[in-house]
């Protein structure tokens, strides 16, 4: 077992790789009542074309399959995993994103049994044709709920606009049509390919004894047999540099219009540390430009163009990366013009040393604050883990950033890579 310490955060992390390739990280939180376990696989909605385990040809699976599989994993031969957690006094849940699927529990008692149950239900699959069919009604209602959500439509639409081929443009839950194509056979193929221990990571944080917990996990894994570890071959999509759609307007039954200007970043970095540096510096730059403490925020607020829903976000995962800037506004076109104008002028942007120091302090504070909450820690950990980082790296890298790191981002801002998505009333 390895120990990784952070002096700043006064936290310790314990790591071990199991014989079957599963990576396990434990973070004890003395004084907390709660224990939170998160078991994640590197399988998300973008993984739709790959070579299944023990096969040789690429196959294309229906959109939304990772999410569908997440729903069905809770079914076990002898009952439902949620009921078993409930019998231990624990809650369980799961979520699917573009790049990963994660299963979780939280509890204030029976911690070891909960961890074993989490491993056991995810490391076995039990499906019947009947239960797969039945799930389709539930998932279609979930799709319908997102269809009516203007924030989600605007957020996701602004990503779809940027990509011509990349599967990041696929709806996480798929569509009613693609969901109807899903069957037991394809689900099992996905399961066996992506749920191998070597493609997964278990993180447990909270009221735990490290030695005892790690031993329980070790013993649990030693009892199980898996296929030999093999590298998963995913289709690498050649995404053209240009964006897919410049403008899109969606009319919905809403009062308040919203706009998001998105911008594609084509320069995808390979180096792990460079990537982290870029992400953290981009967060600082977006704060400098758009946070409440910025001049633009004040100006646009005074002009009535924005309200407190206005925000700017940077996403960088696997081989895709983009910016999203926008919010609720009654003047979506005007706000769009302002944002695009700013992007065009980014090459002339001057960084103020004092402003830089201030937003850096703010970001350090926000990162420390995450360590208040077991859920917060687990989610941040899992998100960065699959990008190759351990969360303690974040605060170290952030502390070392300089104005030059922000300067380096300026060439990424290109008007021709921007797109606009507007949701407006009918």
């Amino acid at each position: 077992m390895e120990t990784i310490k952070s002096d700043t955060l006064q936290e310790s992390l314990f790591y071990e790789e199991m014989d079957n390739g599963l990576k396990v990280y434990l973070l004890p939180k003395p004084g907390f009542s709660k224990t939170y376990g998160l078991f994640s696989t590197r399988f998300g909605s973008v993984d739709t074309t790959f070579v299944p385990l023990n096969e040789t040809e690429m196959i294309k699976v229906p959109d939304g399959i990772a999410h569908f599989l997440e729903h069905k994993m809770f079914e076990m031969k002898d009952g439902d995993a949620s009921d078993k957690f409930a019998a231990l006094g624990a809650n369980t849940n799961a979520f699917t994103s573009s790049s990963r699927t994660a299963y979780l529990f939280n509890t204030t008692s029976h911690e070891i049994e909960c961890i074993e149950l989490l491993l056991d239900f995810v490391q076995d699959i039990y499906l019947t044709d009947g239960t797969v069919e039945k799930e389709k009604g539930i998932i279609n209602q979930e799709i319908g709920m997102y269809d009516d959500d203007p924030d989600w439509r605007c957020y996701f639409g602004s990503i779809q606009n940027l990509y011509q081929k990349h599967p990041i443009k696929i709806d996480i839950a798929g569509t009613v049509e693609t969901v109807s194509e899903i069957n037991k056979d394809i689900l099992e193929k996905c399961y066996h390919t992506f749920y191998h221990p070597s493609n997964m990571m278990l993180f447990v944080v909270g009221n735990i004894d490290v030695e005892e917990t790690m031993k329980a996990i070790r013993d649990n894994q030693a009892m199980k047999e898996f296929h030999k570890e093999s590298t998963i071959q995913r289709l690498i999509v050649e995404e053209p540099a240009d964006i897919d759609k410049k403008n899109e307007i969606l009319k919905m039954d809403v009062i308040m219009p919203k706009v998001i200007v998105s911008m594609k970043v084509n320069d995808i970095l390979e180096d792990r540390e460079q990537r982290l540096k870029r992400e953290l510096s981009m967060n600082l730059l977006l704060d400098l430009l758009f946070a409440k403490s910025s001049s633009l925020y004040e100006e646009w607020m005074n002009e009535g163009l924005i309200n407190s829903t206005f925000s700017a976000n940077f996403t960088q995962e696997r081989d895709y990366s983009f910016l999203q800037i926008g919010g609720d506004t009654f003047a979506p076109e005007q706000l769009r013009d302002k944002i695009i104008d700013l992007i065009q002028k980014m090459k002339d942007y001057k960084i103020d040393e004092l402003d830089f120091k201030r937003v850096k302090k703010k970001n350090i504070g926000i990162l420390i604050e995450v360590f208040n909450s077991p859920e917060g820690i687990a989610n941040l950990f899992s998100r960065y883990y699959f990008e190759g980082h351990i969360i303690f790296d974040l605060i170290n890298t952030l502390s070392k950033l300089t104005p030059q790191d922000i300067e380096d981002l300026k060439p990424l801002f290109q008007e021709k890579l921007t797109s606009t998505f507007i949701v407006t009333s009918k």
Binding site: I138, Q141, M145, Y297, M301, N302, N307, I364, I368, N372
Partner: protein, 424 residues
């Protein structure tokens, strides 16, 4: 453990703990919820934290907070039954974790004091520009709430169910009342809150008793003896069930049902009602989730909730419009089933375990610790978390069945698509 100090004009609650990286201060101001003041009070929560004389704009205030390592300052409005509560909240990093030992605690106490005693005032009125901006923001907030079909349909349920009652008053104000409020009215209203609201202040974090002297020095309010009512049992004299259907251009229909329950936070049956609600629809092990979602595939979400301060229970579900009658029937069947005494010992035991887990978890979150404590403080209920858990565990099967028999359907609100053709 929590210690309580009677300060000038407010009650100070100290909850010392070293397990958080941050310190949290929450000041809660209570006043009766009325149709006349709800919009004013909501607007005040926006204007109150927008600026002070020393930090005279959103920008300068935000810069100040950033400089204090991203200290947070927020405010929100909510209700506790007959009362409307303003919550001013700040949290900031414990200096132990910072490279420079800045005195963030002192800074934030001073800031809270300034919000009330050194606001940005011109000629006995709040700054006009800020008030104008915040009126626009509130208006837009109310509009966007309507675009969220889940919260819109829930608000409509309360509106129809609570027609002439406090339940029917919007806790976040009315669009049509915003315009008439002047910067002067609003400042006068702040002064009234300072004089008349019932106030509790909570501090959670790495603090000791010495902080009491600091609060004594920096934060005082005029003393008042007000003790406003909060928890009550909703009651309606209407004979018939109200069923309202509204059509919009949407994919998923939202079903909302309100029940009278003859029980509230202060009732002896409160604990049995809490267990009943959890069995009926409070968790994903509950009856409604099992039957409506898992067995019949009618929805993605369905749940019940017990609003202990209004003394009601509600059920909501997102369904296809064609399943309206079926969903209503399934929900009603489950209620009748428990009312007629069909209840497994195992489901009671499992539910109690989940409630215990949910309650113990609140100790890991400063906001939840404060929220639980506040419920008891404004109702003068003397009870510790352990006592509460014990009372939940002691609830018997008979008590659950008994409390379920008090439940009566009152109002249905169904927000549905254009294709819905009424009940068939």
């Amino acid at each position: 453990m929590e210690t309580i100090y009677q300060m000038k004009g407010y009650t100070l609650h100290l909850i010392p703990t070293k397990k958080f990286k941050t310190m949290t201060i929450s000041l809660r101001l209570q006043s009766p919820l009325t149709r006349e003041t709800t919009t004013m009070r909501t607007l005040l929560t926006f204007v109150l934290i927008a600026a002070t004389r020393k930090l005279p704009s959103t920008k300068t205030l935000a810069m100040y907070l950033d400089d204090n390592y991203g200290a947070r300052l927020s405010s929100n409005i909510g209700t506790k039954g007959k009362s409307q509560i303003i919550n001013v909240n700040t949290s900031f990093i414990n200096e132990v974790y910072l490279p420079q030992k800045d005195s963030l605690l002192m800074n934030q106490i001073q800031l809270i004091s300034d919000l009330f005693y050194d606001p940005l005032i011109e000629n006995d009125a709040f700054n006009e520009k800020i008030v104008k901006q915040k009126k626009k923001e509130l208006k837009e907030r109310l509009q966007v709430n309507k675009d969220d079909k889940f919260s819109y349909s829930l608000d409509k349920l309360f509106e129809y169910m609570g027609h002439d009652d406090v339940l029917g008053i919007s806790s976040t104000g009315y669009e049509d009342d915003i315009e008439a409020i002047t910067a002067k009215d609003l400042y006068q209203y702040l002064l009234k809150c300072i004089r008349e609201d019932e106030k509790h202040l909570y501090v959670v974090g790495d603090v000791d008793e010495s902080i009491v002297n600091i609060f004594q020095k920096y934060l005082q309010f005029p003393e008042n003896q007000n003790d406003y009512p909060s928890s009550y049992i909703f009651h309606s004299d209407r004979k018939d069930i109200v069923e309202m259907i509204e059509k919009q251009d949407i994919t998923q229909s939202k079903l909302n049902i309100g029940y009278q329950i003859q029980c509230d936070f202060m009732s002896p049956q409160h604990y049995a009602m809490t267990v009943f609600n959890a069995i009926f629809g409070g968790f994903s092990q509950s009856r409604l989730f099992k039957v409506v979602r898992e067995e019949n595939s009618l929805c993605y979400y369905v749940s019940s909730s017990y609003d202990a301060f209004n003394g009601i229970m509600i059920v909501n579900a997102g369904i296809d419009f064609k399943d309206y009658d079926k969903a209503l029937q399934l929900i009603d069947e489950q209620l009748k089933d428990i009312q007629s005494g069909h209840l497994e010992d195992s489901e009671i035991e499992i539910t109690k375990g989940l409630l215990e887990n949910a309650l113990k978890k609140t100790n890991d979150d400063a906001g939840s610790m404060i929220a639980l404590s506040y419920n008891r403080d404004i109702t003068h209920k003397k009870e510790t978390n352990d006592e509460y858990i014990q009372k939940i565990l002691n609830v018997s099967k008979e008590e659950i069945i008994q409390v379920s028999q008090q439940i009566q359907l009152d109002t249905i609100f169904f927000l549905t698509g254009k294709d819905f053709n009424g009940n068939n």
